[in-house]
């Protein structure tokens, strides 16, 4: 081998070292996705072999030299029915299989740990509830179900972690979510897969899956000192929200304590659940849905507040719910250490109209 040019040799070695043909399996979803994938590959190979063997066999057996006179055949209803129904049956199996996986990935279990991701041209900004901020990186513990809540500051982005087999678009103007549970510590690719302009291909980063011990260490070493909810509380004061949402009976705005995830009656008689999307919408388009008993006097904050700040505010309002606190503690979230003092409960039933909360059986996290 001595006559191989060293440069070429270097090149080949480099290549072989970097030659990947299958992505690592690093989440609880991945084995299911891979099983589905191999079943689909199996179907494709079967179909291809079937068609190709028909074509090849007939081409050899009935080529002009061996079969000079063609036999005219009209068709066969039985055969048509066969190759209509069998593929249809197979496709329907994959439909059901795929749908089950889809619902699993996009419906996070209620006990999952929530991490916010904001996409903007051309970076990912990750916000942990404990106040850790990351750019183009995501640190998560293994073995913990994680929910990402995504939103975009500008155009469509898409948050993709191939090793986990999950992906979700970050869309301007609405929250989306995705769920996964990492199984193997390591460093995995993170991509933006929806074309988002000039530096689309630079909008990449790494996902670090850590053992719970390492993760705790990382968490402690990276906190900015204030949790999202604490940031939100500060913003709540800075933006003057507390001028109206005082939580007292004379307040012009509804009391926000215990609001999160309750069902509220609106002016027009309909009801809505006060989830993340609702809270965000109320800050940007306050008069779109007005709770019963209120007039739309709240100014809009559209264009004055970034998605990050909105997340802080939403987290703050969430933290005003005792239920939510409990939930977050059970979720191994770090909110417990960073709980702001809640504003005192409103004097329900007197003074300004309280929010009409409709009891809803079985509404937990949306």
């Amino acid at each position: 081998m001595s006559h191989i040019s060293p440069v070429l040799w270097e090149f080949l070695v480099h290549w072989l070292e970097h030659f990947a043909i299958f992505p690592p399996e690093a989440s609880t979803i991945a084995p299911y996705a891979d099983a589905l994938y191999f079943a689909l590959v199996g179907m494709t190979i079967t179909g291809l072999v079937l068609v190709m063997s028909m074509v090849l066999f007939f081409s050899l057996r009935y080529r002009k030299e061996r079969h000079p006179e063609a036999v005219q055949i009209e068709g066969s209803t039985l055969l048509e029915a066969t190759w209509t129904l069998i593929p249809l049956g197979i496709f329907l199996v994959f439909f059901v299989w795929g749908a089950l996986l889809y619902f699993r990935v996009y419906n996070p279990p209620p006990n999952s740990m929530n991490v916010y991701v904001v996409g903007k041209q051309w970076m990912w900004k990750v916000e942990h509830p404990g106040g850790q901020h990351e750019i183009d990186a995501l640190h998560i513990p293994e073995g913990v179900p994680i929910q990402l809540t995504l939103i975009s500051q500008d155009v469509f982005h898409s948050f993709s972690i191939p090793a986990f087999r999950v992906k979700r678009e970050a869309i301007p103007g609405r929250y989306t979510s995705v769920y996964f549970e990492a199984t193997k510590p390591g460093k995995y690719h993170l991509f933006c897969t929806q074309y988002c302009g000039t530096d689309h291909s630079a909008m990449i980063g790494w996902v670090y899956v850590m053992t719970p011990a390492d993760y705790s260490k990382w968490k402690a070493g990276n906190t900015s000192g204030a949790s999202l909810a604490q940031n939100g509380e500060r913003l709540f004061a800075v933006m003057g929200c507390n001028a109206c949402h005082t939580g007292t009976s004379q307040a012009r705005g509804p009391n926000l304590y215990g609001l999160y995830n309750t069902r509220i009656r609106m002016n027009d008689g309909s009801t809505m659940i006060a989830n993340d999307a609702y809270l965000r919408e109320k800050i940007l388009n306050p008069s779109l849905h007005v709770p019963a008993g209120y007039v739309p006097i709240m100014p809009t904050f559209q264009g004055q507040i970034s998605e990050d700040a909105l997340i802080d505010l939403v987290e703050y309002i969430k933290s005003l719910s005792s239920n939510y606190r409990l939930q977050q503690m059970m979720n191994k979230s770090d909110l417990d250490s960073a709980q702001p003092a809640p504003i005192g409960p409103a004097n329900q039933g007197a003074g300004a109209a309280p929010l009409q909360i409709v009891p809803t059986p079985g509404v937990s996290k949306p």
């Binding site: 388009n285 008069s287 739309p296 809009t300």
Partner: protein, 249 residues
């Protein structure tokens, strides 16, 4: 098989190439078998084209319905600034022009040249009246600063001058821009179709004056009639959607 024996040999043809037996009217195109086929093809083609047009406006209607559903108060407020008298007049004008157009088709079928030209001209006039009234409305909207992208002010919706109007919060008032954008896009597209129609009408008056349609060749007039009625019908949908529904009582 000797393949040369299969087909026609062109040498049998007269040198002109086209078999040109002159036993058909002059307006018949040579690639049709007979005049019936030409008539059927032309009218079928027009219907297929109108199908395309429906899908074209369909996209706008779809956007309108979704956004109206979201921002109902803004759409109501926007709708109430329109001048319903002018809109109604315009509807009447258009229906009238459809009538004159139908009469023009009838005149062509009856081979009455003078009457045909009269009705086509009347249709042009009514078309211009429509565009004119629309122009007046657009000018008013410009003066009221209701043209999104050029001059738009939400003042009227936050502090309405109309006592019946419900004042909108500023964020909802902003959404009236969407209403006015769709209003201009829809009426603009419609007016564009009217202008194309009027241009075609001028051409047809010129052709009619030379007797082109009163010698049995009614197809162009008929097809244009279909187009004109279609444009009319689009307005019949636009008028209630943009002007009428949810007026203040």
């Amino acid at each position: 098989m000797d393949s040369t024996s299969i087909a026609t040999t062109p040498h049998e043809l007269e040198s002109s190439g086209l078999p040109h037996a002159h036993d058909h009217p002059a307006f018949m195109r040579h690639h049709f078998e007979d005049i019936g086929q030409q008539r059927e093809a032309a009218s079928f083609g027009m219907w297929v084209f109108l199908l395309t047009e429906i899908m074209f406006f369909g996209g706008l209607f779809c956007a309108y319905l979704i956004l109206r559903n979201w921002y109902h108060p803004a759409f109501v407020a926007g709708s109430n600034t329109l001048n319903i008298a002018l809109g109604t007049t315009n509807t009447a004008v258009l229906i009238g022009s459809s009538f004159t157009m139908a009469m023009a088709v009838y005149s062509a079928e009856m081979r009455r040249k003078g009457q045909l030209i009269l009705f086509l001209t009347l249709t042009i006039l009514l078309g211009f009246v429509f565009i004119g009234i629309k122009g007046v409305e657009w000018t008013t909207e410009y003066q009221e600063q209701h043209v999104p992208g050029i001059n738009f002010s939400i003042q009227e919706f936050v502090h309405p001058t109309n006592p019946k109007a419900i004042p909108l919060a500023p964020d909802m008032a902003e959404k009236t821009q969407l209403y006015f954008f769709l209003y201009f896009a829809m009426t603009g597209m419609h007016a564009l179709h009217m202008i194309i129609g009027i241009s075609l009408l001028f051409f047809m008056v010129w052709r009619a004056s030379r007797g082109a349609y009163t010698a049995g060749h009614v197809i162009p007039v008929e097809n244009f009639g279909l187009y004109w009625h279609f444009v009319d019908i689009v307005w019949i949908f636009l008028f209630p959607l943009l002007y009428l529904i949810s007026r203040y009582r």
